[in-house]
Structures are given as structure tokens and as C-alpha cells.
């Protein structure tokens, strides 16, 4: 089992064209990760229309490479500019920026990229081993099981996401409601269009992602007043090897970060809390705990390992269950549907070349990625020296182009502007955006699973609880939903401290 499959995958991933695609993807991804306002999710969304004419395997390699690049890119701005390009690199700034200020930027960057690579590799190996098994199990799933898993996905946002659970819930519901606008494919009726022709097509999640994360993010960053005060990169080949000699000392942190990252990552909303958790653990167990926050290399290793492990792990539920673990994975899932592939466990049976090509490309992509970012850091860092008055209109134009390209329609560009304002307001008021996007992507799938389950049971909700697998999943999902109600009560009982608010995912 497995070995000949991954070999087949490498035969596909290591063709000159697909390697070229990976290099381009990582290059663009790193640029996107460095730029404020553009992140993995909307980078993938903007590029998605360009992949419509490509073979699906090359298309997914381009998009996943972009994702790896964005993950690497986030570390560059965190360390050199103290600006977390992505929410999961916030914890990297704690020690990365002080290191760069002390002239050890090269060390910090090398540590960050190496940790990212180690974390990613750990998750890829686990995906290689577990994905076929999980897909095999998922083949036995019926509509009730799929609905239960979707409920679990969303319950973990409410229960484990941090922030205000009510607002998380509203975000999810709003996403589902927006997904339902337009033609109901089951009955052929128009829903919530109120006689407006433009609403018939519904809301595309790609446009929502570009607006919410792209435009919304720019509005937020100009409000905070952008000022780029970069530290010198100090990147030399000698520094790289020097750092590599030090790094094995932190093997415990690597292992801990990888496990935390994978465990948090294959559930939605994972990368950001994983990076914070890994940082907190490293600080707790370190002999130099008092040096954390002042420029301790281990404080860069811990969050980066976990964030990358989580970012890669988010791909596992996407390829095996057809349920994305992060907004970026959600956009890729949308891509799969557009390329004519049916996401879910059947992919392993029907399109083994696609699945194994993708998994093999995770290895090649991350190897190429770590080499490229190590070699070209000064180049990527130079992007942030571009004046703000050039960067802003450039990003807005790119977002507009991406939104229009989805359906060749101007109404989508207007939606982008509206979603941008909504994203800005929601972010300020602490409504999380990630669950909204996930609900928008999964809306139709979830509704169909629910309907089919209810038809199977002739209207009884009992079907979700009487089947063993869906019963267990439903139980956990309900537990997660109740967690925000139970936790304060439990804390008051024990007189414990209040939890720290977790940052959020994009």
C-alpha cells in the first residue's frame, strides 16, 4: 500500500512543467505573503480564474505552491518589519523582530524558514500515511455523516475559535444564508432574490474572499497607518549554515510544534491558535523563558513550526473528505469543483494521479520553497520598500481583475467593494471572517447532505444520532457548540483565570 502511489505522484510532480509551475507559484505566493492586504486565501482566489484552462493537477500544484509561498512570506515581514503579513505569523514577531533589530535578522529568517520546512514536512508525511486510510473510511459515509462532519467543522469555530462565540455563530449563519441566495437546484425555485435578476446567480465565494480579505484588509491597514521600518536582512550563506548548526538544539520545540500544528491544523481555524500555543509551550518549557520576547531564537522556531504544520494539515480534510480546514483550502476546494473534479473520498479511487500528484508536489513544493526564500530574501523584502501610494492602487486593481475574471461580470466587482466594507466593519467588531467564507463554500453541500439525510429518515432528526459514526461526531459537535456556555461556568467553579483571546485565521 502507499509506496507505489506516492511514486506515481512523484512521476507527475517532478515533470519540468509542474516543477516550473511550483516555482512560479512559490514566487507569487511569497510576494503575496509579503504584501499587506493580500494573503494566501485571496491570492489563491485571484489566481483561480487563470487555472481554468490548465490541467487540474498542474492547477492545484500552482495554487498549493502559492499557499506554501504565502506561508513562507508571512515570516519575512514579521521578522524584518514587525508586520505580520498573515495572522499566524503574529507570534513570530514577538522574538523575530527583536532579533532583526539586534542585527540577527539572517539568523531569525533562517530559523523561521527551516522551522516552517520541518513543520510542513512532518504534516506531509502524516498526510501521505493517513490520507488513504481516512479516504477509505470516508467512502462508507452517507449524507448524515457528511452533515455531521460539517457541523463539527463549524462547531469548532464557535467552541474553540476564541473571540465572541455568538459573533462566530452569526458569521457562519450569514455565510450559509448568502450561499442559499439564488436558484435552489433541488426544487428549481428562486430563493431570496426578491425579483432582482442580479441576485439569481447568488454570491460567489471567490469574490467574497477577495473583498473580505483583500479590500477589507487594506482598509484596516491604512486605518492603522502603515509605516514600514525595515531592519536589515543580514542574510548571508555563512549565517544560514551557522544557524543550522544551532537549530538541532531545539529539537524538542520542533517536535512539539509539529504535533501541535498538525493536531490543530486539520481542524478548521487551526494555524493561528497553533502558532500561539506552540509559542506558549516553548516559553514554558524553555530554560531561557525570561529571554522570550527579547530576541530568543526558540521563540521564532516554535510558532513557525506549528503554523506551517497546521497550514499543511488543513489540506488533509480537503482531499479526503471534501471539507476544507482553512479558507485557503476552501478556495482550492472551489477550484476542484470548477475543474470538474468531485471533492471527497472518491477522488482517491477516480483520480489517483491528481491526488498523489498533489501530495508529492507538497514535498517538492516545500523543498523548492525553502531554497527559494533562503536565496531571495533581500528581493522579497525589497517589495515592502515600494511606496504605499503605489502598492494600494496596485492591490485594488489586482483584486478587481480577479473578481471580474470569475464570471466575467461587473456585478461581482461591485460585490467585491461591498464585501470589502463588510470585511472592514466585521473585523473591527470582532466578527470572524473565516467561518463566513467556509459556510459560503460549503453551503450547498451542507444543505444537500441535510436534505438527503432527512429524506432518508422521512423528516426525523434522529437519523443523525442513531447511526454510530454520525452519532459520535454529532455528540462532539454539540459539545463544541455548548463549550462557550459551559466554560465560564466551569472557570467560576474552579476560580481559574480567564483564557487568552486567540487571534483569527484568514
Amino acid at each position: 500500500m502507499g509506496f507505489e502511489n506516492i511514486l506515481l505522484g512523484f512521476q507527475i510532480a517532478v515533470t519540468p512543467f509542474n516543477l516550473f509551475v511550483a516555482v512560479v507559484g512559490i514566487m507569487l505566493g511569497t510576494i503575496i505573503g509579503v504584501l499587506p492586504g493580500l494573503g494566501g486565501a485571496n491570492g489563491v482566489a485571484i489566481l483561480l480564474p487563470l487555472t481554468f484552462t490548465m490541467p487540474p493537477t498542474s492547477a492545484i500544484i500552482l495554487l498549493t505552491s502559492l499557499y506554501w509561498g504565502a506561508l513562507f512570506g508571512g515570516a519575512i515581514t514579521s521578522i524584518l518589519f514587525n508586520i505580520p503579513g498573515e495572522p499566524w505569523s503574529v507570534a513570530t514577531t514577538f522574538d523575530g523582530y527583536p532579533l532583526a533589530r539586534q542585527g540577527k535578522g539572517g539568523q531569525a529568517l533562517t530559523a523561521a524558514f527551516t522551522s516552517s520546512f520541518v513543520g510542513a514536512l512532518f504534516s506531509i508525511v502524516l498526510i501521505t500515511l493517513f490520507a488513504p486510510i481516512l479516504a477509505e473510511i470516508a467512502l462508507k459515509f452517507g449524507p448524515p455523516e457528511f452533515f455531521a462532519i460539517q457541523l463539527l467543522t463549524f462547531s469548532s469555530f464557535v467552541g474553540l475559535g476564541g473571540g465572541n462565540p455568538l459573533k462566530s455563530l452569526v458569521s457562519i449563519l450569514l455565510g450559509f444564508i448568502l450561499a442559499a441566495v439564488g436558484l435552489d437546484i433541488v426544487t428549481g425555485q428562486l430563493r431570496m432574490t426578491f425579483g432582482v435578476t442580479e441576485l439569481m446567480k447568488g454570491f460567489d465565494f471567490i469574490v467574497a474572499v477577495i473583498g473580505l480579505f483583500g479590500i477589507g484588509e487594506i482598509l484596516l491597514s491604512v486605518e492603522e497607518g502603515l509605516s514600514f521600518q525595515g531592519a536589515h536582512t543580514g542574510m548571508k550563506l555563512g549565517v544560514v549554515f551557522e544557524t543550522w548548526r544551532i537549530l538541532p538544539r531545539y529539537w524538542r520545540t520542533f517536535v512539539r510544534g509539529s504535533f501541535i500544528g498538525f493536531w490543530m491544523g486539520f481542524k478548521p481555524g487551526g494555524a493561528t491558535p497553533a502558532s500561539f500555543m506552540s509559542y506558549a509551550f516553548a516559553k514554558r518549557f524553555s530554560k531561557n523563558a525570561d529571554r522570550f520576547g527579547k530576541g530568543e531564537l526558540e521563540g521564532v522556531v516554535a510558532p513557525e513550526t506549528a503554523a506551517h504544520a497546521a497550514g499543511v494539515a488543513a489540506m488533509l480534510p480537503m482531499i479526503t473528505l471534501g471539507i476544507p480546514g482553512s479558507p485557503t483550502a476552501a478556495v482550492m476546494l472551489g477550484g476542484l469543483i470548477i475543474w470538474g473534479l468531485q471533492p471527497g473520498p472518491m477522488l482517491f479511487k477516480e483520480k489517483p494521479d491528481f491526488v498523489w500528484g498533489l501530495i508529492a508536489s507538497m514535498y517538492t513544493g516545500n523543498i523548492i520553497g525553502v531554497v527559494m526564500v533562503l536565496a531571495f530574501v533581500p528581493l522579497f523584502a525589497a517589495i515592502l520598500k515600494i511606496p504605499f501610494a503605489i502598492l494600494t492602487p496596485l492591490i485594488v486593481v489586482i483584486c478587481a481583475v480577479g473578481s471580474y475574471a470569475v464570471h466575467n461580470s461587473m456585478i461581482d466587482v461591485w460585490y467585491m467593494v461591498i464585501f470589502g466594507v463588510v470585511g472592514y466593519v466585521f473585523k473591527k467588531l470582532d466578527y470572524p471572517l473565516a467561518p463566513l467564507v467556509l459556510a459560503l463554500v460549503l453551503g450547498d453541500l451542507a444543505e444537500n447532505a441535510l436534505r438527503q439525510s432527512l429524506i432518508m429518515s422521512q423528516g426525523s432528526l434522529g437519523i443523525f444520532f442513531t447511526r454510530p459514526i454520525s452519532g459520535v461526531i454529532m455528540f462532539i459537535a454539540i459539545l463544541f457548540f455548548l463549550l462557550p456556555i459551559v466554560t465560564p461556568w466551569w472557570r467560576r467553579l474552579r476560580g481559574g483565570p480567564m483564557g487568552t483571546p486567540a487571534a483569527r485565521e484568514t
Binding site: L169, R191, L219, A389, V401, A405, V421
Partner: protein, 153 residues
């Protein structure tokens, strides 16, 4: 902050009400062959109205003096949002490439106070690069206007 929080929750609540209204029209109960079209939206909207109601109660109990956005913050936000909206409007009339050129030039001059040479280079260069990548290489058409028609595209 509280006023904005309340306003958002009330707007979302109204949206939920609108969805419930439509779901009732479609039928939210059991049809002849399964749940009717309005079933799923109905319960989503009911849950949203309830959750927003709770958010309103939560917000009413809190006291914050921090404004949602200060005047000093609003200016840069609007200086991005309004030109961007204007660009979309202009795109409707003359196509994306010309609109992008005008927008980039305007923004660089008005906000960045850049010299005319870099402005000319970027305002022309970026749309041309976009054109080559999207229209030529990937065959993804963008909205075009009279200028492109005159040039024969």
C-alpha cells in the same frame, strides 16, 4: 463602538427577518418529497435573529467609550475606499484597463505626490502587463471600452 455594534446586529437581524419572510413564502415545512426550499434558510435565519438579539443584549450591558472609528482614522480609509469605488464606476464606462490607468495615476499623485514620470510609467505599465497576462496568455477577457475597440481588440 457600542453604537456600531448595535447597528450591525440590528441590520443583520433585519436581514434575518427578510430571509424568514421569503422562506415562509417558499414553504419551510415538509413537502411531498422532502423539505421545501425554504426549510434550510428558515432555520438559519431564525438562529441568526436569536443570536443577533443576544448580541444586542450583550452590547447594551457593555460600556465602552472607544469610538468605532475616529475622524483621523476615517480619512485614510475613505481615501482608499472612495477612489476604489470610483474606479469600479469608471470601469463600467470605459473598461478596466483605462479605469486602472486613471485610478493608479490619480492615487499616486493625490496620496503619494509622486513625480509625473513614475506615474506615467506605472499607470501605463500596469494595465499593459495585466492585458498581456490575462488577455494574451490566459485568454481571460476583462471589460473593455472605446479605447480598446479603437485599437482593434
Amino acid at each position: 463602538m457600542r453604537a456600531a455594534d448595535l447597528a450591525t446586529a440590528v441590520v443583520l437581524m433585519a436581514l434575518g427577518g427578510l430571509v424568514i419572510f421569503d422562506a415562509v413564502r417558499l414553504g419551510y415545512d415538509w413537502g411531498s418529497d422532502g423539505p421545501k426550499s425554504g426549510f434550510f434558510p428558515f432555520w438559519l435565519a431564525v438562529a441568526m435573529v436569536v443570536a443577533c438579539g443576544l448580541i444586542v443584549l450583550q452590547a447594551l450591558r457593555q460600556r465602552t467609550d472607544k469610538p468605532f472609528v475616529s475622524r483621523a482614522q476615517l480619512r485614510p480609509v475613505l481615501s482608499v475606499l472612495l477612489p476604489a469605488t470610483a474606479m469600479v464606476l469608471v470601469t463600467e464606462m470605459v473598461g478596466l484597463y483605462v479605469a486602472a490607468a486613471i485610478y493608479i495615476a490619480f492615487y499616486m499623485r493625490w496620496v503619494g505626490r509622486h513625480g509625473w514620470l513614475p506615474i506615467a510609467a506605472l499607470a501605463l505599465g500596469i494595465p499593459i502587463v495585466t492585458f498581456v497576462i490575462f488577455e494574451r496568455w490566459f485568454l481571460v477577457p476583462m471589460p473593455k471600452g472605446p479605447l480598446e475597440a479603437w485599437l482593434g481588440f
